[in-house]
């Protein structure tokens, strides 16, 4: 290709943006950087947009929604774009998105969502619940104490509980550690069942589940992707599973106590309205949580295993 041709072919890239980005000064622009298309993250983004539209009025706000296509490296490019446009607020959905945005601006207000621990995600020593600066948001930390209580509530006679998790997932290990301590406080014997990958899962399970009364699975992505294997091993021997995430319970579990990402998104959206409309100082806003996790049960498996579920549980659709 000739040099002149190449130069010519680049020119549209410089001209086109100028033609497109006509904006109204009264309309607030919110940049949304989402790490990847994923049911949970999508739900949070949708909840966020709904709450902001309700709070601000649909005409007064414009969303610039960008998906990093699962690549953390793309987040920094998206963040750069938002900062150059000097948007009014940035919503960062998932940890790398927040990290990239936090490393790109100290002035534009930033709200995170679907982030488990802000202290860990932003390397803040002695994190006390308020990030400060231009950052706040919502956390998707699972209600682990509630999950441990759920095991006690559904299976009061359980003596030995297995904790299944993938050893490559730091997040799962954290959950297992916490739940294990809570169960041991109640005098229940626990047994960790760690597997390295999906190829190992079946043999590890078969070798470990026979003496268990209940199996607990945290929010573990590898387990979530291999629920059919878990189901094939556990259901025939009548081993009930309590899960930290609804999708696992839906495929192979008895019940779950998990947060709702849509509600989490709505909460984040309400925070955005507080910042943009009411002029609240984002530096003083503490990280918010989903305070009303819903107890859900899987009717098919409960019927099959003959487990009676209290009336305050909602059936998984």
């Amino acid at each position: 290709m000739k040099k002149s041709k190449l130069l010519l072919s680049i020119i549209p890239f410089f001209v086109a943006p100028a033609l497109i980005g006509c904006q109204n000064a009264n309309v607030k622009v919110i940049g949304i950087c989402q790490l990847v298309t994923h049911p949970a993250l999508d739900a949070a983004t949708n909840g966020f947009m709904q709450a902001v539209k309700e709070g601000m009025g649909e005409k007064n706000v414009r969303f610039d929604l960008q998906d990093a296509a699962g690549e953390p490296g793309n987040c920094i490019i998206i963040a750069n774009s938002f900062v150059s446009k000097n948007v009014d607020l940035i919503m960062a959905n998932a940890t790398p998105a927040l990290q990239a945005v936090a490393n790109s601006t100290t002035t534009i207000p930033v709200l995170g969502t679907s982030i488990t621990e802000y202290g860990v995600a932003l390397s803040i020593p002695n994190f006390n619940g308020v990030v400060g600066g231009n950052i706040s948001g919502t956390s998707d930390l699972a209600p682990l104490d509630g999950q441990a209580e759920m095991i006690k509530e559904l299976f009061p006679e359980a003596q030995k509980v297995g904790l299944l998790f993938c050893s490559a997932e730091a997040n799962s290990l954290y959950q297992v550690n916490t739940v294990e301590a809570l169960l041991q406080d109640e005098g229940i014997v626990t047994k960790r069942i760690a597997f390295a990958d999906s190829n190992e899962l079946q043999s590890v399970l078969v070798a470990n589940v026979n003496d268990l009364d209940v199996l607990y699975i945290p929010t573990d992505n590898t387990a979530a992707n291999n629920t059919s294997i878990i189901d094939a091993v556990c259901r025939p021997i009548g081993l009930p599973i309590v899960a930290g995430e609804e999708n696992i319970a839906k495929a192979c579990g008895v019940a779950s106590l998990s947060i709702d990402y849509f509600r989490l998104g709505i909460k984040t959206g309400q925070m955005a309205v507080e910042v943009l409309k009411e002029g609240k100082d984002i530096a003083t806003m503490p990280i918010a949580y989903d305070e009303n996790p819903v107890k859900k049960f899987n009717k098919e498996i409960c019927d099959e295993l003959g487990i009676v579920i209290p009336s305050n549980y909602v059936e998984i659709e």
Partner: protein, 312 residues
């Protein structure tokens, strides 16, 4: 209108900084793919290794220069492993690279203490640069890139450098001249992966975190940059210094396009496909020109084009 244009130009500064960071990675790909004539797939792993090592050093309180240095050394080791797999065990280079890349996934996870993501926020740690201060990042990374390009220009003129180039050009002839080609392949792979890891270490600081999947698809970006860069200077000059510079410029162009796509709010899901198409086009168009179009349109020019392709 003018305002939007300025905003757009403002966003390009970040793209240039980011493109130059990735350009250092592309320089590593250039060394294996163009000079050594080996497609090395280790880079997808060693890129993240560089970032991971650097992040862990910084988190544990070390200076960022130490982090960068240790990251580069980790990259050397990655290249060494691929090189030994290829030369000692006679595993084809592509496969050797894939094997190293595969094992690096686990190793990187262990480096990052079993966590898939380690933050090094510029708010907490002193870093070489970050996207918070783009002008600062811009001159630092440009300086690093220029030093590297000039350094490698000198290096490839030395006896060792020249023999590496000879190994890539014609291994049999090189062997006949008494050059230890296996040694040269290992050395070149080490240098290449050292550069890739350096780029990973710099990116981790620029974006504020190291992530297990930050190197995913790095080889495609590297190839993109090399191919675009080569297309740029092909007709201008065969000068080696210019060619290395053009690789970095190729990476910058790639990121300018990328930034434009994001700026316009186009669907970013297509970005990967876009990069693949760009590489395929730049690689395929010269051949199509030569083979199918040139004979019909410019009969006389045909020979010229063939020669150029050979020279390249």
């Amino acid at each position: 209108m003018l305002n939007d244009m300025l905003t757009y130009l403002l966003s390009l500064r970040g793209a240039i900084a980011l493109g130059t960071i990735w350009g250092i990675m592309a320089l590593g790909v250039f060394i294996t793919y163009r000079i050594l004539d080996i497609p090395d797939l280790t880079v997808d792993g060693s890129f993240a290794t560089g970032g991971a090592v650097c992040a862990m050093v910084i988190i544990s309180g070390g200076n960022f220069w130490v982090g960068i240095l240790l990251g580069i050394i980790a990259g050397f080791i990655c290249g060494l492993i691929t090189g030994l797999l290829h030369t000692l065990l006679d595993i084809p280079p592509i496969l050797a690279g894939i094997l190293t890349q595969l094992s690096l996934w686990s190793i990187n996870l262990k480096i990052m203490e079993n966590s898939s993501n380690q933050p090094i926020s510029a708010r907490t740690f002193p870093l070489i640069f970050s996207q918070l201060k783009i002008p600062d990042a811009l001159w630092k990374i440009s300086l690093i890139a220029l030093i590297l390009v000039f350094g490698f220009y000198v290096f490839f003129g030395t006896e060792l450098g020249a023999s590496i180039r000879a190994t890539g050009n014609n291994p049999r002839m090189a062997k006949a001249q008494g050059i230890n080609t296996k040694f040269n392949i290992v050395i070149a792979l080490m240098i290449s992966n050292g550069l890739v890891a350096l780029s990973g270490a710099l990116l981790a600081q620029y974006q504020g975190f190291a992530d297990i999947s930050m190197g995913r698809g790095a080889i495609v970006i590297g190839l993109c940059a090399v191919v675009i860069g080569m297309a740029l200077v092909k007709k201008i000059t065969p000068n080696f210094l210019v060619r290395m510079l053009s690789v970095i410029i190729g990476s910058v162009i790639y990121h300018l396009v990328f930034q434009t796509v994001v700026f316009l709010g186009l669907d970013t899901t297509y970005l990967k496909m876009l990069s693949a198409i760009v590489v395929a086009l730049f690689l395929g168009v010269p051949y199509v020109n030569k083979k199918y179009l040139a004979p019909y349109f410019k009969h006389k020019k045909k020979k010229l084009v063939v020669e150029e392709v050979k020279n390249d």
